[in-house]
């Protein structure tokens, strides 16, 4: 498979009044052509900062790029100047934001906003761009595109607005599409439509998608591979089946079992990960998850675990995978769910 994006040992900090917040503490991952990589994790785990740094959208005054490289087809994006970056942003890599209510300009017609990247990047004339914009509106499933083209964002519902945002993002057939919680603000039925739309468009234009979400149901639906983030690091990565059916990191166990599915009995208490996420102002020594981890060992508090290999595609950063570590069983809720999956899939 062809690698289209390679992120190596990315470290980013923010300078705040209370000190340096180490938001990203060494993140590495690859993105293959045509695949969907889901990044999951709690708020503050660094999912959005990672993707915004790929787009170079972090505020320059307060954020500091500490180290690492972001290779897009072999070109290091971190070394580009603003002008060069502008040529890539919106053309080769584009982004869908979480909130369709605020990511459109309320004073511009929807059509104009879609035409903007087309005119800028593809150097088409106004009338050609217009034609293309109408086609895009049609493509993302907006009825009466000719009329809708002339309307303002406030005349659209939430789901329709998100379609417009997707149309803008797809205007120049990007090779990478970054979707930052694109369906979180939407209802389940609309969410299902948007996800179906993204998948069908991906097939048509062969885009690679980075999909950020904290909804594991959505992950199971869209992802080919999954990266789990915690405390500014990727702590487990694998194919979607490996993460859901054979998770190895205690945090992933916690995430999976804290969500009830439709089979969870009412008498069972939900497994709640105790405590709160780490404060990245003073990241803990050792494994950042150790204070909330019931399986934590002495070494977890002293030394950060490296990525242990589970299979060719599956890696997890937990000392439990060290050959010398004691064998532990996942929590009962996880085991129960794994068993249920096995039975259902027979």
């Amino acid at each position: 498979m062809e690698k289209i994006l390679e992120v190596n040992d990315l470290k980013i900090s923010f300078h705040t009044f209370s000190g340096e917040v180490q938001a990203i503490r060494g993140v590495s991952f690859d993105l293959n052509k045509g695949e969907t990589l889901a990044i999951v994790g709690e708020s503050g785990s660094g999912k959005s900062v990672t993707t915004k740094s790929i787009m170079r959208l972090l505020p320059e005054q307060s954020s500091e790029f500490k180290s690492g490289e972001i290779l897009f087809k072999g070109k290091d994006l971190t070394k580009l100047n603003d002008k060069q970056m502008q040529k890539i942003r919106g053309k080769d890599i584009s982004m869908i934001f979480q909130d369709p209510m605020t990511s459109l300009n309320p004073t511009m017609t929807v059509g104009k906003q879609i035409m903007e990247p087309i005119i800028k990047h593809q150097k088409l004339s106004k009338s050609e761009a217009r034609e293309k914009a109408v086609k895009l509106l049609d493509l993302v499933g907006i009825p009466n595109p000719e009329i809708r083209f002339k309307q303002y964002p406030h005349q659209f519902s939430g789901g329709m607005r998100q379609r417009v945002v997707i149309a803008i993002a797809l205007a120049c057939n990007p090779q990478i599409l970054i979707a930052d919680e694109p369906t979180t603000a939407l209802d389940v039925t609309i969410q299902a439509q948007i996800l179906e739309l993204m998948k069908s468009l991906q097939k048509k234009v062969e885009t690679s998608i980075i999909f950020i979400t904290h909804d594991l149901g959505v992950v199971a639906n869209v992802a080919d591979r999954v990266a789990v983030m915690y405390g500014g690091k990727i702590i487990e990565v694998g194919t979607v089946d490996e993460i859901f059916y054979n998770p190895k990191h205690p945090y992933t166990w916690g995430l999976i079992s804290s969500m009830p599915d439709l089979e969870t009995e009412e008498e069972d208490e939900l497994f709640a990960i105790p405590g709160t996420p780490p404060n990245l102002l003073n990241p803990p020594k050792g494994d950042a998850f150790a204070p909330r981890n019931q399986y934590a060992m002495k070494i977890d508090l002293e030394k950060e675990p490296p990525m242990f290999k589970v299979s060719d595609t599956h890696y997890a950063a937990t000392w439990l995978l060290h050959p010398d570590a004691p064998k532990v069983e996942p929590p009962a809720a996880v085991q129960k769910r794994m068993k249920m999956y096995q039975e259902q899939h027979k």
Binding site: E42, L195, L216, D241, F244, S258, L262, T264, T276
Partner: protein
């Protein structure tokens, strides 16, 4: 179930906005249902279907356009003296969706929680008031050092706990929770839901749980009502609703939920709901009818006969 006492009876409740103007909105359009003592009734539906308005009208944040809300046999709406209103306010409390917006940023947590205690004169001395606040904080899993801090010093999950403590301060019997976990992280959602269940067991609370996260609603609710455009389209025990949905809208809603199971997701087929598929003719009585014991569906006479057969 039949033996249980009805705590709340909602009869033909209507809440219209902009009445008489061209942009009249029938947010809640003739709801009738009961809530039994000690149960959790879940209310689900898409945004704009009127589920939050229902909650807010029940607790009289809005004055109902028409219909009745009987709490323990007494009407909540209609002309009421201040003392009578106070009595209801003690019995009914609300937990709001946004833990960032629902706490006054200029009040200390102790005062936020004790506001109800002060209004209703539940504490005779200052020491008693402090003790009550500390007890409440402990009940919701915070500790008494938190009492003298301001809301901004807390995380979302902790703030929601403060919101719950505030609702419990006046010892209500009925709590309306309007999307109490939607704004929280997955791992924190489980903490808050477990807390709400624990409090219900210990204090015998009755909940109206409004949400759009269907798997969480199923987990916490005894019965679930599905709303669509201001109307209740289906009301059934939680298990029954998921195993045997009857109204086409409920079916489409259930088929849209993504589950954390990749193999299931690859095979999931989504159904869409078309309101015109009913082909109601003029004069058809479309109302909530009981198909099997405790399972109500909004349907016409003809549909009722068909559903009965199945």
């Amino acid at each position: 179930m039949e033996m249980k006492k009805k705590l709340l009876e909602i009869k033909n409740l209507k809440q219209y906005f902009n009445v008489g103007k061209p942009n009249e909105v029938k947010a809640v359009d003739g709801l009738t249902f009961d809530i039994y003592e000690g149960e959790t009734l879940g209310l689900v539906g898409e945004s704009g279907c009127g589920k939050s308005t229902t909650g807010r009208t029940i607790i009289r944040l809005y004055d109902a356009t028409d219909g009745q809300v009987l709490f323990d046999g007494e009407d909540v709406h209609g002309k009421k003296s201040k003392a009578e209103m106070k009595k209801f306010n003690r019995e009914m409390q609300m937990i709001f969706q946004d833990p960032y917006a629902s706490l006054n940023p200029r009040m200390k947590v102790a005062d936020v929680i004790a506001e109800g205690i002060d209004i209703h004169g539940l504490a005779k001395t200052k020491e008693e008031r402090t003790k009550m606040v500390h007890d409440l904080l402990e009940t919701v899993g915070l500790n008494k050092e938190h009492a003298n801090r301001y809301p901004h010093e807390f995380s979302g999950g902790q703030r929601q706990r403060i919101g719950i403590a505030r609702a419990l301060a006046v010892k209500p019997s009925f709590v309306i929770a309007d999307e109490p976990i939607s704004a929280l992280d997955v791992s924190i959602q489980a903490q808050v839901v477990n807390l709400m269940k624990k409090l219900q067991r210990e204090k015998g609370l009755t909940y109206l749980f409004i949400a759009h996260d269907l798997s969480m609603v199923k987990y916490i609710s005894d019965r679930i009502g599905v709303m669509y455009f201001g109307k209740m389209v289906e009301l059934a025990p939680a298990e029954e609703l998921y195993k045997n949905p009857m109204h086409p809208y409920t079916k489409s809603l259930l088929s849209a939920i993504p589950l954390p199971d990749p193999v299931y997701e690859r095979n999931r087929k989504r159904q869409t709901y078309d309101p015109s598929s009913h082909n109601y003719r003029e004069g058809d009585q479309v109302e909530l009818r009981e198909i099997t014991a405790g399972h109500f569906v909004l349907c016409s006479e003809k549909e009722y006969e068909e559903l009965k057969k199945q």
